[in-house]
Amino acid sequence: MTSAAVLTTRFRARRRPTWALSTQVLLALVVLLLGTVFLGSVIAPYGATDGDPANRLLGFGSAGHLLGTDGQGRDILSRLILGTRLSLLTGIIPVLIAGTVGSAVGLCAGLASRLVNTLIMRTLDVFYSFPSILLAIGVAAALGPSIKNAIIALSIVLIPPVARIVEAEVVALRSAAFMKVAECSGASRFLIAVRHVVPNIRAPLVVYCTTLIGLSIVDAAGLSFLGLGASPPTAEWGLMLNDARNYFFRAPAVALAPALAILLVALLFNALGDRLRVELDVRQRGATP
């Protein structure tokens, strides 16, 4: 055996175990989607608003228009590609905001005194007492229809579930020996939170937020579908779907493309969340589906 071989084995042994193929494929797909976000305008064969009234409602596989054209003769494939940006961003940004704010709230509740914990958690229970999408609709409608407001509404709606997950994790950690040691050695609450709690709740948080992205994309496209997000002629999947409702009987394909896009992307993030749960060995506490 050469020294190089020994070196590689040692290197391998120290490396983290590699992820399963299915996880890697899912991650690659997400990277591909993100690539579409940045390179959308390069890949797309037509512009988002380039209408061709002579070629309205073409079917799948028409010459020059792979997925056909919509009611205004715009190329569906191009709009789908260009719409990825908004649909994905309105899915990811709320999760980032809610992930940060929700974690902070959950950390405070988990590490605070019993009274403060009860106050925070019972307040969150109120948000839990009705379906989140209703609250999102209410807030987005009140703020007025725009993408920014849809993002704000979704961020607000996603904070309670994140806070609840984090709180459950923190409470479970509190009885751990290393927490007691840190407390006894006089570490401040802030230091304990940053040095001991956060690293330990990172994995479940990442897993949960990945699944939330799927939900957020679905809800964001849903808000646009209801007229509470992007406004025409923007290329956005929910909006495209709503527009396609006018042509259900004349050109069903127009509706199928955005419908499947949203469905598949939601499934992608959910599957990725499930795989990450397995890979990072996370058991979910206090989560509701």
Partner: protein, 319 residues
């Protein structure tokens, strides 16, 4: 039982108050001043002051909230801006239609979900593995509007088996068969996710219950497999109720999209139409009524569970 009921009701009160506060303050987010909308740009300051006083908008927000809540408790939810009718009437009609759809979808979800769960737990290995992967795929946050659109394209536009939307035929408005015919597609769409979740969670409960010592005891006594299974299912019924109850609650939220896709004249469709007309009182009332229904369903489920399962009664209310 009385003690349990009392505790549970006591727990509902703060939640109801919280929900009403959220709904009330959501509408305060609306940009612009409602008085300007009412009196127009050329009104004199005197008219503005008069109108502000008349609508109680000169009072502090908490006072406005109490007044609004008082009216809401008496069934007065204000007047619709776009329809010159009182909101309560509009919302009541829409809500009864939503309940019809929700009840139908809930029936599909509970029955189908329970049957799927039993097949997954007790069925042959290959069948159960296949079913459980389908179920876990369906129970994720699937976009109902996508599913609804796919259903319409396939079963209404292409095969023309079912109508693509609406609730009744214009020609035979009172007919039950026509109503059922219109219910199939929206019902299945709304039921898809709850069915998946119920199947997944109930099969987990069944698997857990199968590990209980009494099951081993039953087998040891030589009872047939079917009888043993009956006991397992019976022992898990209370949790089926809890799982289903929660899902029926979520149905009320998800049904908004289903109603819009299928033009079902319920709360969701009403809210959707009110959004484009900026009819805030109607949106507010719609959200409030759905949220209340969710809270009430949870209450009913918890109480029913206590009636069914003495263990729940004994352990008391856990928040």
């Amino acid at each position: 039982m009385k003690r349990y009921l009392g505790q549970r009701l006591l727990l509902t009160a703060p939640i109801l108050i919280g929900v009403s506060i959220i709904v009330f303050f959501t509408v305060q987010l609306v940009p612009g001043d409602p008085i300007s909308t009412l009196v127009g740009a050329h009104a004199t300051p005197e008219t503005r002051t008069l109108m502000t006083k008349q609508y109680g908008l000169d009072k502090p927000l908490p006072v406005q909230y109490v007044v609004w809540l008082g009216h809401a408790l008496q069934g007065n939810l204000g007047a619709s801006i776009s329809q010159q009718r009182d909101v309560t009437g509009i919302v009541t009609t829409a809500f009864s239609n939503t309940l019809t759809l929700t009840a139908f979808a809930a029936l599909i979800a509970v029955v189908l979900g329970a049957v799927l769960a039993m097949t997954i737990t007790f069925g042959r290995r290959r069948l159960s593995r296949m079913l459980s992967s389908v179920v876990s795929l369906a129970s994720v946050s699937m976009p109902q509007y996508s599913l609804g659109v796919i259903f319409i394209v396939v079963f209404a536009a292409d095969l023309a088996w079912f109508p693509a939307g609406g609730m009744r035929d214009v020609l035979e408005p009172g007919s039950t068969t026509s109503l059922l015919h219109h219910l199939v597609l929206p019902g299945l769409t709304a039921a898809a996710i709850p069915t998946g979740i119920i199947a997944r969670m109930f099969s987990a409960t069944l698997a857990e219950e199968s590990q209980e010592p009494y099951v081993e005891n039953l087998r040891a006594r030589g009872l047939s497999e079917w009888t043993v299974r009956r006991h397992i299912v019976h022992g898990s019924l209370a949790s089926l109720l809890t799982i289903s109850g929660l899902q029926i609650g979520y149905l009320l939220g998800g049904v908004v999209f289903v109603e819009v896709v299928f033009a079902w004249p319920g709360i969701g469709q009403l809210v959707y139409q009110s959004i484009s007309k900026r009819d805030y009182p109607v949106i507010q009332a719609g959200v409030l009524v759905s949220a209340l229904a969710f809270v009430v369903i949870n209450l009913v489920v918890d109480v029913a569970r206590a009636v069914l399962d003495p263990r729940v009664r004994a352990s008391g209310v856990t928040a």
